[in-house]
Assembly symmetry: C2
Homo-oligomer: 289 residues x 2
Amino acid sequence: MKKIAVIGLGLMGGSMVKALKKKGKYKLVGFDISFDTLSLAQKDGFIDEIWNGKDKLDSDITVVALSPSKTIDFINEKINLLKKGSILTDICGVKESICAFAEKQAEKYDINYVGGHPMAGRELSGFSNSVENLFINRSYILTKTDKTNENALEELSEMAYGLGCSDITVTTPKKHDEMIAYTSQLPHILAGAYVKSPASDEHKGFSAGSYHDVSRVASVDENLWSELFLLNKENLLIEIDILLKNITEYKGALISEDKQRILNAVKEGRLLKERDIIKNGEEKPHNFG
Amino acid sequence: MKKIAVIGLGLMGGSMVKALKKKGKYKLVGFDISFDTLSLAQKDGFIDEIWNGKDKLDSDITVVALSPSKTIDFINEKINLLKKGSILTDICGVKESICAFAEKQAEKYDINYVGGHPMAGRELSGFSNSVENLFINRSYILTKTDKTNENALEELSEMAYGLGCSDITVTTPKKHDEMIAYTSQLPHILAGAYVKSPASDEHKGFSAGSYHDVSRVASVDENLWSELFLLNKENLLIEIDILLKNITEYKGALISEDKQRILNAVKEGRLLKERDIIKNGEEKPHNFG
């Protein structure tokens, strides 16, 4: 039975051990700065072993489920403890900077690194909010460069399906960061910007689904997300500028009171969204309630 | 048994007759430009009678479930056919302009007008997409002015509870329009602006809940929504400017590479959203799937 070590049992790492344990295909090792979390995870049967962070780690796959800065710290400090020829991956929401660093370090220690990013999450954090169904029908992104070991890519794809993911997206770190600026980082900035209107405080009784949807991800961990935003600054600025320009077109149309111009702006959005639904199907909201 | 006439059996009017029919408290009359829709609604037992639009209408409550311009046309052309002393309401997403007009006309014909706006909907339209549970646990806004008849307000509150709504918000047309610019119109503009990024076309495999949430309401009827936006131009421009300013703060923080400034921007959003959840509870996504 292959052994997977998960480093950091927060929302993501915790959900991973829960999902993989249920699958029953892997032996699971956990590591966390909180010994209470590790004890709880072991007591509840989500991990088979606790790693002490000092001895050699004999896992076949090591998943670092930490923030970007802590992922880099972990690789710097502990990569020498990983098994030669084993697989190392991370789950950071930015990939160019992390992959460049991790790939170089991994090469030195004869480790097969592949960058990863499961497109799953919720607006909560910590092991206590982790759930085994977090990855069901989600996409798992794996990065590929000219140094990527094909077998490692395959093993991680299998792990991703084991988590419950329905799609594996293999892409370059660069393309990942360009796309994620749009699909994930921009909506997080929007949610935060949106709730800052003074009207937000009085929305009760005047709001429905669309208020909920736009504002939902405002409640994210500022330490993690400010790191992610800065590490993807160039791509994010491009998407912010596109959005500002597009919103400003509605503003200009309103000021001009040009009904046809507003109608065209709304129609263009409708056609794009309809084409998207036809092409990709309607993504159902994920409700862990 | 009180008689309610619903004018226009589209998504909203159709859902209304379905919900009210199930409640069993009212006799229902339907009117629509499509005779096929009327026949279907009667055959399926959602309405008891079809109104021909020419004879006197003997309903106790008449709900105009049309777009703003068609609501005004209906009132202009048919208010003389309504029963003296009966109640007239509409469901338009803007209220100042509609209420001012409707109240004046209603007064002339001895009709009790109250503006209404159920905070319910879906990104689809027409009778075929109408559902009896559209209003469950939703808020129903009723407007009150110095001319509003208290008994009419009460009758309509009762009807709203009959639809399945959990809250009645009584407010002025002015306050309604200010709030709705923020809670509903702005998210619709955002959704349309968001899907216009070139990255949108490639999102599959890179997206999850937050992409879905922000883009969902892009697929709205441009005829209806361009009308609504123009009729609430002043309030909407205020909210657009606040949002542009708030997004621009994130942009400035990114350009300056000031980590503390980004962290503060994200943190402020998180605290506002958390305070909102504590104050108002978490609104669950509505899934009619």
